[in-house]
């Protein structure tokens, strides 16, 4: 087995937070003697990632996703634990490390606000010491694939969020990094822009083998992009696996909508519970491991005057919310 691209082993990051208590007297006392409280932003986080994997990192706000990403990017030093990306310890070898990774923080900008996009790109070329021919080829390809040609001469501050995000992603890839960190890249984007970002990241990972770590609150990003998900809550890894496994563990039920021809009657089928009634329809929930869908449908159709039925899986948001609730994670 080849060396993994990213190794994270019992990583812990503690912050010292000054405690402030209410009241004028306590405020004065705080000037003389401060009390500090230790807060573990992440605690004992471990995982490995092979080259070419696409990992989704999810968790509620304040769970430690960004802290993890910042440590992996080399801009934050952990309190303890081991971490290697591409054979380098990020914070110890920061300059060499950051030259080989790309990063996009959705809520921040890495482009120079007052400069036209193309000048930001040119500056990044020199900052990353990219050879001119190589740079031209990469830039032109990114311009074509992210549809940037009409934006290149526009100052960054005049771009819409969707346009800017496409430019940010291009900017993070001009030096052809092997690893890309995307911290909430779709935040605030409209549906079309989100699709464009997802589509591009998926292709980049599939055709170029770029290793990607993605954090997001949009579960559709996760559904569309990742095979593997790590859920972080209260600073610890709560789950690591496929979305399907997560679904089975958290909320494995399936749902059957029954639309009656006439007035809905009371319905009582063993192995099901009624979730909702809506007009002439009833939604039943059942466990697919004990109740088979086709037998349930046959039975409902035989016993009642049914016009139509359809099956649903719980939406991914609900699965995740259930998962957080099961693990008593505050959201």
């Amino acid at each position: 087995m080849p060396e993994p691209m990213i190794v994270v082993d019992s990583l812990t990051k503690a912050f010292r937070v000054a405690e402030r208590r209410a009241g004028a007297w306590n405020a004065l006392a705080g000037l003389v003697r401060r009390r500090y409280r230790r807060v573990d932003a992440i605690k004992d986080v471990s995982f490995t990632l092979a080259e070419g994997e696409l990992l989704g990192l999810i968790g509620p706000n304040g769970a430690g996703k960004s802290t993890t990403i910042k440590i992996l990017c080399g801009i934050l030093e952990p309190t303890s634990g081991r971490c290697e990306v591409n054979g380098l310890v990020p914070w110890r070898d920061r300059v060499r490390h950051v030259a080989r990774i790309g990063a996009v923080f959705g809520q921040r900008t890495q482009l120079w606000w007052d400069l036209p996009v193309i000048e930001s790109f040119d500056l990044l070329r020199d900052i990353y010491r990219v050879a001119p021919e190589r740079y031209r080829a990469t830039r032109d390809e990114l311009t074509a694939r992210l549809d940037l040609s009409s934006l290149l001469d526009t100052p960054v501050r005049q771009l819409s969020l969707g346009q800017r995000m496409r430019c940010e992603i291009a900017a993070s890839l001009l030096h052809e990094p092997r690893v890309l960190f995307l911290d909430e890249p779709t935040i605030g984007l409209d549906a079309v822009a989100k699709l464009a970002v997802r589509d591009f990241v998926k292709t980049l990972n599939a055709t170029r083998g770029v290793t990607v770590i993605l954090t997001t609150h949009d579960m559709h990003d996760i559904e569309a992009l990742t095979h593997r998900v790590i859920v972080i809550g209260k600073g610890s890894v709560l789950a690591d696996g496929s979305l399907e496994a997560l679904r089975r563990g958290a909320l494995g039920e399936r749902r059957l909508w029954v639309h009656f021809a006439g007035e809905p009657t009371t319905i009582d089928v063993p192995g099901t519970t009624v979730r909702r009634r809506q007009g002439r329809s009833i939604e039943l929930a059942f466990d697919p491991r004990t109740t088979s869908a086709h037998r349930l449908i046959a039975r409902v159709a035989a016993e009642f005057d049914v016009e139509d039925v359809h099956l649903e899986e719980p939406p991914i948001e609900e699965v995740i919310a259930r998962f957080y609730a099961q693990h008593a994670v505050d959201t």
Binding site: K13, F15, R16, A41, S66, T67, K70, C73, G74, I75, L76, E77, W91, R94, V95, R96, V98, A99, A103, F105, Q107, R108, T109, Q110, W112, D114, L115, E119, D122, L123, D126, I127, Y128, R129
Partner: protein, 275 residues
């Protein structure tokens, strides 16, 4: 450093320099204010020097000191870089650490751009107005005169190079304080009066009391304005001028070393503030 190693820093300087040259409206507004202040100062000192006082500087030297000082006003690092302050407030400063650059040199390169582009924009109209327009209207006595000789002009140019080095070293230290305190207000409040008084912008330094002179001569702010201005008018000439320029160079080296040490500490703390 080799030229290949310098490439990113040169690019940072060039980009920022070109960007700053575009702020012409601000330069024009600043020029108006600086003319106004300069004229008031010239009148005050003319009145002061017309009396029976033993002044360490002639009226001619004083007027040159004032006008050239106004032209070079934006050399003074009396406030933090607005762009960096914005980065700190928004948190985008984290991106600065994502660049494969040595952060101190990166920020120093940006400071050098500011200390060359802005003074260039501001000093050209000021020198044209006070050095060409006023004399051509017959007010040569109240305008900026040429340096007394080639040696004064050459030493002035040399001194100017060290002004840029020194002012950029100051500015980078201010940047680091902004990062450490997460706000530019504190450093601005402390720095503005120090820079204005100790550089000679308020009163030419030779006019401060005699007992203060040894102190005034040897502090780093003198190298920001006082030294080049007096070298220009010939008030400082020969070995005295060379000594003053050497002091500028020494302070630049000291402040760069201090800034580097500070950067190591502050940037480690910046890491702990993440999250």
């Amino acid at each position: 450093m080799s030229s290949a190693a310098m490439r990113p820093y040169v690019a940072v300087f060039r980009t920022r320099f070109q960007l700053l040259l575009q702020y012409r409206a601000a330069a024009l507004a600043g020029f108006g204010t600086q003319c106004w202040w300069g004229a008031i100062k010239v009148m005050v000192f003319a009145a002061f020097l017309s009396g029976p006082v033993a002044s360490p500087m002639t009226l001619r030297e004083t007027i040159d000191y004032i006008w050239l000082g106004q032209a070079l006003l934006t050399m003074l690092p009396w406030s933090a870089d607005q762009e960096l302050a914005r980065l700190v407030r928004s948190g985008d400063v984290a991106y600065e650490r994502l660049r494969p650059l040595e952060t101190y040199t990166y920020w120093y390169a940006r400071a050098v751009a500011r200390r060359t582009a802005t003074p260039l924009l501001r000093s050209i109209p000021m020198i044209l107005t006070t050095g060409v327009l006023l004399p051509s209207l017959g007010f040569a006595k109240w305008g900026l005169s040429a340096p007394p000789g080639l040696s004064a002009a050459t030493m002035f140019a040399l001194s100017l190079v060290f002004v840029i080095a020194l002012a950029s070293a100051f500015a980078t230290i201010l940047d680091l304080f902004v990062v450490a305190t997460l706000s530019e207000r504190g450093v601005n409040i402390v720095m503005a009066p120090l820079a204005i008084v100790l550089s000679g912008n308020l009163v030419p330094l030779p006019m401060l009391p005699d007992w203060l002179q040894p102190l005034v001569r040897n502090q780093p702010f003198a190298g920001l304005l006082d030294t080049p201005l007096r070298v220009y008018s010939g008030h400082l000439a020969g070995s005295a001028a060379l000594l003053a320029i050497a002091r500028q160079a020494l302070w630049a080296v000291i402040l760069i070393a201090l800034g580097r040490a500070l950067a190591t500490r502050v940037l480690r703390r910046l890491q702990t503030q993440g999250g």
